[in-house]
């Protein structure tokens, strides 16, 4: 368990207040726009920033407790902090950088081994180099390795990909996935990119202007209307946990089974039976009262309107139930009126596009948007 419950106020009006408890394993994304306070949260966990009040505990180890006067110094917390700008020591070689934390770490039960980290991150050929000769992506991989070798209790990653271009991001993401899948370290991952969050995270904590908006399993949080101001209207959507059910090589399509039926998507590079995540944005879900016949949309699912929420401006948020799953849709208020959408109404959901996010460590391409 990672328990965080902190409050702090800064000169200049910024105030942070958040409290959540997330599992002591897997990736927890701290998501929000810049200035939302994401980084401040992990700085507080690392001990770099001191909250005015509250409590921080990681796996039963109390780092900070204002009520009991506990404030463990940074170096004794053993948090592996990966900074956005890598922060490799310029006067040391890559190997000495990697060993810096390792040399200062205390004996732990199952230490992370140097060779294993070098192999995991593919940094063997870089060991004798100096940091200023590395590319941005290489630097970030070394920084991750350095944090891992300090034998941390958890990893804190502060937008490790934000300073990189798309090609470099695609280079690092598979390593982060391996990290998630092959180490048992809990990871707090700060990001403002929903694609990264969906690809990596199990748990999501959303922040907006220093306030916690939502927290919970990614799929559950993503479709909450409370996420609207965080995601922006056009990114609100549903995350569906799917299993590859069959491939159709003749058309180069795959079928994904989920709690509400089946989705047809362009062939995914995964074996039948493997898990994938499909993301359906609300704006890509259209609604019909009767089953449309002559349409190109191949994902047509019977649904029941569960909730209709009219917004200011032209749009309305509709929550649909498809079998056991829920699906968020966004249509105009005019359409709501024209179709007389109200809770309980049986409709057809037309899904125009599905994004499939690979959760496979060997899969090295960036997540792809598939028209369906």
């Amino acid at each position: 368990m990672i328990e965080i419950d902190i409050r702090l106020a800064r000169a200049g009006g910024f105030a942070l207040e958040c409290g959540f408890a997330v599992p002591g394993s897997g990736v927890t994304a701290l998501f929000g726009r810049s200035g939302a306070g994401k980084t401040t949260v992990i700085q507080a966990v690392a001990g770099v920033v001191r909250p005015d009040a509250g409590r921080i505990a990681v796996k039963g180890e109390v780092f900070f407790d204002s009520a009991r006067g506990i404030d463990v110094p940074i170096e004794a917390r053993r948090t592996g902090y990966v900074f956005q700008d890598a922060r490799l020591f310029p006067h040391l070689s890559v190997e000495s950088n990697l060993r810096y934390g390792e040399r200062r770490s205390r004996a732990v039960e199952r230490p992370v081994r140097f060779e294993a980290v070098v192999e995991l991150l593919g940094i063997g050929p870089l060991l004798t180099r100096r940091p200023h000769t590395l590319s941005g992506g290489e630097r970030q991989r070394v920084a991750i390795g350095r944090a891992l070798l300090a034998q941390p209790r958890l990893l804190l990653m502060d937008e490790p990909l934000a300073a990189l271009d798309e090609a470099r991001k695609a280079e690092i993401l598979p390593y982060l996935e391996r990290l998630r899948d092959e180490t048992r370290l809990p990871i707090l991952y700060v990001s403002h990119s929903i694609d990264e969050v969906l690809r990596l995270a199990d748990t999501l904590v959303a922040l907006r202007e220093g306030r916690q908006v939502a927290a919970g399993p990614v799929a559950q949080v993503m479709s909450q209307p409370a996420m609207l101001p965080v995601l922006g209207r056009f990114d609100l959507g549903t995350l569906l946990e799917c299993v590859v059910s069959r491939h159709d090589p003749a058309y180069a399509l795959s079928s994904l089974a989920f709690a509400g039926g089946e989705l047809r998507v362009p062939q995914v590079a995964r074996a039948v039976g493997e898990k994938v995540r499909a993301r359906v944005r609300a704006r890509d879900v259209a609604i019909a009262r009767t089953r449309p016949e002559d349409v190109s949309v191949s994902n047509l699912l019977p649904a029941v309107v569960e909730e209709v929420r009219l917004r200011e401006g032209p749009y309305a948020d509709i929550m649909l139930r498809v079998g056991e799953a829920r699906l968020a849709s966004m249509v105009t208020r005019e359409s709501v009126e024209r179709l007389a959408l109200s809770p309980g109404l049986v409709v057809w959901a037309m899904i125009k596009s599905v994004a499939v996010d690979s959760r496979n460590p060997e899969f090295t391409e960036p997540p792809q948007r598939h028209g369906a």
């Binding site: 110094p73 940074i74 170096e75 922060r87 020591f89 006067h91 200062r104 205390r106 200023h132 300090a150």
Partner: protein, 229 residues
């Protein structure tokens, strides 16, 4: 080429400059750190005190040294009585004078280097398990190295040229306190001293130029070493 008397002055100058720098360097690093990083009441006053020798007439600095560290000075008398340390008319005294005068230059160079150190790197080191002291020696100090070395070379150069404070504090004693500048001064006061003054002037120019070239060389080396090239 040089007379024995001139060699004595050159050797004494180098000796005084070396030891003055050697002893003042750790204190200069500490002072620079305090001025750059610490905050406490009276910091402005300390700041002023450190830079005072730079702006005061050197003769005044020498006279103040005489008042404090001289044989009857309020510190000097105990130095003599308790430790048997005599500064007046001695090389040790000349070293003190040179150290005091060059101190502000050294502190300034080191302070600039310290302020240029990315504090984010220090934070990173602490998250990796290093204590504050450990961080200072393993990250901050190595990154300050170019500044410390250029500070040291500045100190040596300024100690080599020290005149006013030395002659006021420890007088002009051959073999004890008569460094190159004092020897030149003496030479200009005796008949036929011109040749000697000229030779020592040449030595001064060579030493100054040499230390400047050395400073540039060392600086480039270190910058390459710590990856700032």
């Amino acid at each position: 080429m040089l007379t024995p008397e001139e060699w004595t002055a050159v050797a004494l100058s180098l000796k005084v400059a070396f030891w003055a720098t050697f002893w003042s360097l750790p204190l200069a690093v500490l002072t620079a750190w305090v001025l750059a990083r610490a905050s406490f009441p009276g910091k402005g006053l300390l700041d002023g005190l450190v830079y005072l020798p730079l702006v005061l007439p050197k003769v005044v600095v020498g006279y103040l040294l005489l008042l404090t560290l001289g044989a009857r000075g309020f510190i000097g008398q105990y130095l003599d009585a308790w430790f048997g340390i005599k500064l007046i008319f001695t090389t040790a005294g000349a070293t003190v004078a040179a150290a005091v005068v060059s101190f502000p230059l050294t502190v300034n160079a080191i302070r600039l280097a310290l302020e240029a150190v990315d504090r984010g790197l220090e934070t990173a080191a602490r998250t990796l398990g290093a204590s504050r002291l450990d961080v200072f020696f393993s990250v901050t100090l190595p990154l300050m190295l170019p500044g410390i070395l250029s500070g040291a070379l500045l100190a040596i150069a300024s100690a080599l040229g020290e005149f006013g404070a030395t002659i006021t504090f420890v007088s002009n004693v051959e073999g004890q306190t008569r460094t190159i500048p004092l020897a030149i001064y003496s030479a200009t006061h005796v008949p036929d001293g011109d040749a000697m003054a000229l030779r020592l002037t040449l030595v001064s120019v060579v030493l100054a130029l040499g230390s400047l070239l050395l400073a540039g060389l060392v600086d480039r080396r270190i910058r390459r070493m710590i990856g700032r090239a």
